[in-house]
């Protein structure tokens, strides 16, 4: 018998007035999973999270938490807790009071509150801060307290809305590791909103990519990264973004030829592509000098960017600017010609009209 999903969303719709901002969202995750809702600003991530939390009413569809239909239950009865982007700590309460407020409201005994507090403050290493007010904490400390407030109730589902976006880069990496550790040790189920793909890739067991209120792809980080379902996901994931070069596929004697205008690529026979207008996709890191399926013409380098660990080379290809990642110490200069090859399995083909993946 399959386990009940800890969260199941079925055909969810949400409108603000006349405007529908979430269209037909369906997804589900098993217990202990780490779901990341990923997408550009304004795509509806927070709205979806707030619907799960019960902070927003939904127009249609169902939200099931651990098998129970919670679509119309108030937030307090959903067995969830939430960490907000602004942390939303109660300014007048001490750290300890902030963390135990939810327990106090629910009428737990003082002894239970104290026990829960010491457990959580131990896990998050905030023992020394318990008497302070939020205003007396650093950003990272506030972040920990906000997580403590969520952890203390031991809910079925944790919701995070961009919890790291207010931290500086170094702290962000630290807290990211911390959240990952929490997930692994405490083993709770999480839904995490971010627009940062690195956060998504490192934390998630499952990613839901959203754009304009629709699910673009729902899958594991590997599926999302290595088999993007459409050009939106392909170009959203990865930095620098995947190269998408317009081309036309035709049959030849020996196989399939992708005509890129000023260049071409020859492949084994791929009948699905024949006669179609496509976008040929490959990631900058999947292009190599002189390995794999080589482009007919060498590329003429128009720009070089050395980041220390890598060298990013830009060149014209099929009327677009393609980016290729080369080793840090690659000896190359503007105007040089480089022969570029790409592994067959690293090529992505999308329909140019629909943007959907063909192969």
């Amino acid at each position: 018998m399959p386990e009940t999903p800890v969260l199941a969303i079925e055909r969810l719709k949400k409108s603000y007035g006349e405007v529908e901002v979430l269209h037909d969202i369906s997804l589900s995750i098993a217990k202990g999973e780490f779901l990341v809702l990923l997408g550009p600003s304004g795509c509806g991530k927070s709205t979806l999270l707030n619907c799960i939390a019960g902070l927003e009413d939904v127009a249609a569809g169902d939200i099931l938490i651990d098998g129970r239909n919670m679509t119309h239950e108030p937030p307090k009865d959903r067995d969830i807790s939430m960490v907000f982007q602004s942390y939303a700590l109660y300014p007048n309460m001490s750290v300890a009071e902030n963390i135990t407020f939810g327990l106090k409201v629910r009428g737990q005994s003082r002894a239970d509150q104290a026990a829960a507090l010491s457990r959580v403050s131990g896990v998050l290493q905030i023992d020394r801060l318990l008497d302070r007010k939020p205003a007396e904490l650093s950003g990272g400390q506030r972040q920990r307290v906000a997580m403590g407030r969520a952890l203390v109730r031991d809910p079925k589902l944790f919701l995070f809305d961009e919890p790291l976006s207010n931290l500086d880069a170094k702290l962000r990496v630290e807290m990211r590791a911390e959240i990952k550790r929490l997930h692994e040790t405490v083993g709770v189920s999480m839904v995490y909103v971010t627009h940062d793909q690195v956060e998504a890739m490192t934390l998630a067991t499952r990613i839901c990519v959203l754009s304009e209120g629709r699910i673009q792809q729902f899958g594991t980080p590997e599926e999302i990264y290595f088999r993007p379902r459409n050009t939106f996901v392909a170009s959203f994931m990865g930095s620098p973004a995947m190269n998408l070069i317009p081309g036309k596929a035709t049959a030849t004697d020996t196989g399939t030829r992708i005509d890129l205008g000023d260049n071409a690529l020859h492949l084994g026979t791929m009948t699905d592509l024949h006669g179609r207008d496509i976008l040929l996709g490959f990631r900058p890191e999947d292009a190599h000098t002189g390995e794999g399926l080589t482009l007919d013409q060498p590329l003429s380098v128009t720009g070089i960017e050395r980041t220390g660990g890598d060298t990013f080379v830009t060149a014209h290809l099929g009327g677009r600017n393609a980016t290729v990642r080369l080793p840090a110490k690659a000896r190359i200069a503007k105007g040089d010609s480089v022969g570029i090859g790409i592994g067959r399995e690293d090529l992505h083909f999308f329909d140019r009209q629909t943007g959907l993946r063909i192969l």
Binding site: N50, A53, L55, A88, Y90, P91, F101, G102
Partner: protein, 283 residues
Amino acid sequence: MRRRDTSALQRRLTTLLDHTILVVGAIAMSLPVLVIFMTSTHSNLTIATDGLQILPGDQFQTVYGRLTTGQPLFAEGGSVREMLFNSLAVAIGFAGLKCLTSVLAAYALVYFRFRFASFFFGIIVITMFFPVETRFLPTFLVTDRLGLLNTYSGVVLPLLATGIGTLLFRQYFRQIPEELQEAARIDGAGPIRFLIDILIPASRPMIGALFVIFFVIGWNQYLWPILVATSDEGMFTLVRGIRRAGQAGNLGMALAVVAILPPAVLIISLQRLLFRGLSEVSH
């Protein structure tokens, strides 16, 4: 090098200018208070012949002694202590109730998305254009019908009906992040719990600041308390007492000095709170 010198000089000149303006302003503001105090220590004869005084006179003991005896100052009764108590009752009652009603109204307007909220807000704001002075007759009639003439309630309640407090608290609440309320909802706190445990404590500076301002407004009420106290001298406030004693005499001036003290003490001691609360609104 020279450049540095001129800029330093310039800075010093600016500072000098700033301070001159502040000093002149401070003198202009406090001089009348000083003059009133000094004049109140002179005999009524001196005041009548020579006018206002800037130097101390010899009647301090006599005049202020009269105030502290606890004896009624007027034939109809009304000791300083009684008047002080009345003034305090009106000012504290007014400020306290004003803060309470404003907080509740603003809370409803900001945190409950009910229909016609902006319509009700408009109605509340319109009351600001009708201070009690513009509606004496109907208000007096209503107060009379309610049997509230010559009571503290009769003095305070009609004064409450202005929208300024609601307006200010509404602005203040709107700049408190919505996520605070959402966090409270997830923690299981209902609307009343959120108001009492989170919103009001978080608004303490603002509440304190408005309390001080309303205290001063209540304290300085003049016409309405006179109207409502139709018969009873026991209802005299200090401000009313000044009028009764005659502003031109030393007793009236001494009463004025006494009347300035409580609001002054309140404002000076809560200065920091006042500035913090009011500056937060504008952000």
